[in-house]
């Protein structure tokens, strides 16, 4: 099974699932954060020793089993697991439960190993969340042009004129200019740098937002582990499908 993990109301998730069904016969399941929190029997184990110390078996309310024998690869768009649904609990208990659920989700996703696109990190379930300052510092350290950063700048500020570039497994696979339309060209030198940025961020799949820099062409604004997948159409889906198949072929 291809497993697509997403936050509730992630409109890209069912679109991705549909596109994956079009590309092979493997079953596809979309599982949301709410399902994992409220409609799932969890069994997550860590063994006393060994490099592959953890295993999991999740049974969803509809009977779907998620474990190492049923899940071939995962499209991971989960940012967090939260306890917002525990409406009757106190705010303090909800905050505690949110921490517990995030901790469990992180350990579970880690136990799935290399079959997950994108792998989790302690600061984000689909990759290590970074502030704008960190994205630009990282990009700058890799030789990419970046916008200047000022700590008074709001986080994750976007501009409708930005170009968006999708990187999958280290390769730029699609670019879009939502405001202007069309597919902007990405210079080979920049494409190479964006691949390196994804690698340095530990991302199998990364959407990089490029701002028009008046003097030096496109410049990195920030990046996201949860791409606006529909913007990239078939090119993005083909790359994602290829990434999933590659993970099965190498037996991760």
């Amino acid at each position: 099974m291809w497993l697509v993990l997403a936050q509730d109301h992630d409109a890209d998730a069912p679109w991705i699932a549909s596109g994956l069904r079009d590309r092979d016969d493997r079953p596809v399941a979309v599982v949301t954060g709410s399902t994992l929190v409220h409609d799932c029997r969890w069994e997550h184990r860590v063994s006393p020793r060994g490099a592959t110390a953890a295993s999991s078996r999740l049974v969803l309310g509809d009977g779907t089993v998620l474990d190492a024998t049923t899940v071939d690869a995962v499209v991971n768009r989960l940012g967090w697991l939260g306890a917002e649904g525990f409406a009757g609990a106190s705010a303090r208990d909800r905050e505690y439960a949110t921490g517990e659920l995030f901790a469990l989700g992180l350990s579970w996703l880690e136990s799935l190993g290399g079959r997950v696109v994108n792998r989790p990190a302690p600061t984000g379930l689909s990759g290590g969340w970074r502030r704008t300052a960190e994205w630009r510092s990282l990009a700058r350290s890799l030789g990419l042009p970046t916008l200047p950063y000022d700590s008074d700048e709001p986080e994750a500020m976007a501009d409708p004129g930005d170009d968006l570039v999708l990187v999958v497994d280290g390769q730029v696979v699609a670019a879009v200019a939502p405001a202007r339309g069309g597919a902007p060209a990405v210079e080979p030198r920049v494409a190479e740098g964006l691949g390196a940025l994804a690698g340095a961020a530990g991302a199998d799949m990364l959407e990089v937002r490029l701002a028009a820099s008046p003097d030096a062409g496109p410049a990195v604004r920030w990046a996201s582990f949860q791409p606006n997948q529909r913007l990239y159409g078939d090119a993005g889906l083909d790359a994602l499908h290829k990434a999933l198949v590659a993970r099965v072929e190498v037996g991760l």
């Binding site: 069994e43 184990r45 006393p48 020793r49 110390a53 525990f86 469990l104 300052a133 000022d150 700590s151």
Partner: protein, 309 residues
């Protein structure tokens, strides 16, 4: 210049401050409780990373900071903000100040003890246990579940088991007894972490760079930190040495987690297995230092100063 951030009277921070003073090194304090008189701003541009920290009545150029030791408390809980609504200007200023400061610690080339990203491995104990296992340590057999039947099987199989928080939230480790089993159905609401009880002697290992300080803890309590309060018999602490191989593994584990300073909780079993429970990325080491005389604060000060021990 070395920057210390947090509450200056807090033990761990204060001790490092004393040691830095004794070394005659320039120190600047960012006192959270003086947030109203403080500000932090920086830029990343073609000239690199540069900015200013206004810490009370002192202004510091951030690019001159060579090392940072920070132990910030949750700024929402600062006494100075008590009773203020979320949108109060003082609270908004305080949040922005802390956010900018933490962002700076993540991008500065200074020696930071410890950066926020690596510290976050402790936000999930079973996640961190997987990393610990990869570093060659045994970890406690663990079950995280919301199925009471699985817990009953687990407890029956191991005889003794404990439960604790999954996340990094500090919780008192409790043994699973009749009272806990009687309310086991409550876990259906939210999964809980259970671990097989591990017999043996606790050893807390503080690693500072490549220096290792091991403390043996004698206590019969499931959680020795609360032995005095809960059982009336406080734990007894004494400095000890581990084998070179285990010490090297502790140094390696700390480095793998991206930490410059860590507190590793080990238990040595009767058959000499070394089981690692977790690595605390912000250890409150003074409890161990005060009971054993181990120069942990001095080692942290030396590390911040880039000095060999």
């Amino acid at each position: 210049m070395i920057l210390l951030a947090g509450i200056p009277s807090e033990g761990a921070l204060a001790r490092v401050g004393e040691e830095l003073d004794s070394l005659g090194l320039p120190v600047v304090w960012f006192d959270q409780r003086r947030a109203a008189a403080s500000a932090c701003g920086f830029r990343v541009d073609g000239d690199g990373l540069h900015g200013t920290l206004q810490a009370g009545d002192r202004s510091v150029r951030l690019e001159e900071v060579a090392a940072v030791y920070w132990r910030l408390m949750d700024d929402r809980l600062l006494p100075e903000l008590k009773g203020l609504p979320a949108d109060d200007p003082a609270r908004v200023h305080c949040r922005h100040l802390h956010d900018a400061f933490v962002a700076w610690t993540n991008v500065t080339p200074a020696r930071v003890v410890n950066r926020a990203g690596p510290m976050a491995t402790n936000s999930s104990k079973p996640y961190q246990a997987q990393l610990i296992a990869r570093a060659g340590f045994d970890v406690p057999e663990t079950l995280v579940t919301n199925d009471p039947d699985l817990v009953r099987e687990f407890v029956a199989r191991h005889g003794r088991a404990v439960y604790k928080s999954i996340s990094g939230v500090r919780s008192i480790v409790e043994e699973v007894g009749a009272e806990a089993l009687a309310r086991l159905d409550d876990i259906r609401w939210c999964p809980v972490q259970f671990q097989a009880y591990v017999e043996g002697v606790d050893v807390r290992v503080h690693v500072v760079g490549e220096r290792v300080f091991a403390t043996r803890v004698a206590s019969d309590a499931a959680d020795y930190r609360y032995a005095g309060v809960r059982d009336g018999v406080p734990a007894r602490l004494e400095a000890t040495r581990l084998s070179e191989e285990i010490e090297a593994r502790c140094v390696d584990l700390t480095a793998r987690l991206g930490l410059r300073f860590g507190g590793i909780d080990l238990r040595i079993t009767p058959d000499e297995r070394v089981v690692c429970f977790e690595v605390n990325p912000c250890p409150a080491y003074t409890y161990y230092e005060g009971n054993t005389g181990q120069p942990i604060a001095r080692a942290v000060a030396h590390h911040l100063a880039g000095m060999a021990a």
